[in-house]
Symmetry: C2
Amino acid sequence: MGSVAAPKQDRSRVTRRRLLEAAVACLAEHGWAGSTVSVVAERAGVSRGAAQHHFPTREDLFTAAVEYVAEERTSALRGLVPTGPDRRREVVEEVVALYTGPLFRAALHLWVAASNEEQLRARVTELEGRVGREAHRMTVELLGADESVPGVRETIQGLLDMARGLGLATLLTDDTQRRKRVVAQWASIVDTALG
Amino acid sequence: MGSVAAPKQDRSRVTRRRLLEAAVACLAEHGWAGSTVSVVAERAGVSRGAAQHHFPTREDLFTAAVEYVAEERTSALRGLVPTGPDRRREVVEEVVALYTGPLFRAALHLWVAASNEEQLRARVTELEGRVGREAHRMTVELLGADESVPGVRETIQGLLDMARGLGLATLLTDDTQRRKRVVAQWASIVDTALG
């Protein structure tokens, strides 16, 4: 039994992953209005029926997609073991990178759509809370910050808010050069503030 | 002639302002997809013909609307004359307030729409650049910061990016209590960083 079932499960997992990746790319490129299950299925090279088997509704597909890629990115952050004197700067750069790629762009489209669509709102709010808490927890750990010290928690929160603001600034124009300078300066400020 | 023309010009100005305010409220509440010239005209109590006389296209109306309210808000900031020992904290609070109200919500919808719609993109990019430069200039002035000192420019830029990130955090949930603590902590950090 195992030898027959395993490849089928593998195929199903591969199909699911292709749908999720296509959904994020679609959301980042075309926004919520241009992102339907059919468009994503075609992009992934999967039949519409197979797509609906995995994700019965449009909301299921897109919230799962943003969650999937958020997990991929936070896993990458989890694997980061910074060393050396510029350790904290490296961490700040990696944290900002979480918010300035295609994932954040896709998430932004999903958030904005959710702010006006009741059926998305509760799910996206829950998802955003979960992803945000995990990013916060990892940033605290990687920076070696002690949250029992007054102000440290808010320092890290503000840093993550800045990262989201930098993500927003990449929406319409290439902001890479300015961002590098801001990140270098703020990494140094955070380093001093954390002591 | 003057006595006849003046009230007519006044009426035209009032109509224009009502359309702009209705357009921002509409964008903040319903997003780009739900914001048309007809919907705004009805909300403003103005005929569709009169609305199109003032704003020939949908893009004209919404970019003008975001610009109008941005100017209203920066005028308010321009009038701020902070005094006392907590002067810089007061400035940081006012700057963050620029990005956490309905205007920012409307601007966010416009930016996200512009990222996927060619006819909006160039105009919104230009508008965002202009509004951003003015916010930066005023923040520098109000904080009494000296941009000839290395790092000061990037400190202020990061502060404005943080303000935008805090604006984003209010999109789905009421973030007021957390934001107050983050702003208090970062006002103190920025105060130290600026010397």
